[in-house]
């Protein structure tokens, strides 16, 4: 096998995929981008989060 870390010492763990997944890291969800709807209703991002559940 290649592309992930082999784990000596345990036949219960097949592989560690943590490093492999690094390249898939999605962009951060920090804060709320300004958008037309926010500007239109002059809403604060918190309300947007409430409404979208996201």
């Amino acid at each position: 096998m290649s592309g992930h870390d082999q784990l000596p010492g345990s036949d219960l763990v097949v592989a560690d995929h943590s490093r492999e997944l690094e390249s898939l890291r999605p962009r951060a969800l920090d804060g709320c981008d300004a958008c037309r709807a926010c500007a239109l209703w002059n809403l604060k991002p918190k309300l947007y989060v409430d409404l979208t559940g996201g």
């Binding site: 219960l12 490093r19 997944l21």
Partner: protein, 277 residues
Amino acid sequence: MTLQDLHSVLFKIYLNPGYRLAHQMDPGSFVDHMQLSGEQAELVRNLSPAEAAEFAHGLRSKKALSLNAHMPTTCRWLEERSPHILRDFHDVSMVSRRAQWGATATQLVEYLRECREFYEGVPQALPDLARLEYLLMSARREQERREKKEPASASSPPSFSWNSLYWKAAHTSVESFTVDALSVLLGKKGMTDEGEPTYVVIAPATSGRMPMVLRVTEPAYRILSAMTEPVSARRLHEHAREHGLSVSEEALQALLTRLACTGAVGSYHVGTADVGA
């Protein structure tokens, strides 16, 4: 009539296409149906359908962006192959204003499971992939929260003893997937190339940017699933034997030591001298 009532009616218009259409067709009847009165009735009656539609569209886009960030691979596949499923999901998906983080993403996982029954061509891997992406994002979120609270510091590995207690940590997920969702996520397999069932442990990492993701064997999955409460290593080994799981003492010790080191399982050291003292 409180401000909360007005908010509830506005949320219905913004979030539910049916209510929005009813308001658009006859604002007066809509206001009566919602039992609004006074200034609040006036406000809703004068809400322009175009403004309501534009704001609703903004909310929907925002929700889609949020989902896309939670489940990028799942959403990309849906957008490219079955955009109608995403569209339908957004039409029917409602979350409480007080819903916990990730509520919409959790809904999508369940929706995709149901979809397999009434849409053709939904791969078995899709709901598993969505669930896997959700767990990864949840672990990453907890990891970032911890980093902000207290930056990771080096700690010595906990000592192992058969009397020591071990338990699955609060933010550790021990999951089984009916297909090899991990390989699909990593691009090693296609969505329809399902492979074997997969067992994984996902936990916030103490270093690095991505959570810890271990592919484990089925016996390891069954042992870890039994660790919802503190249990001694000795009892875990007995549990494995009772359930016919082929697990050597060395393998169990290595597994517990590794997971305790990374914080995926909690541990409380009990030395031989402590027992019966």
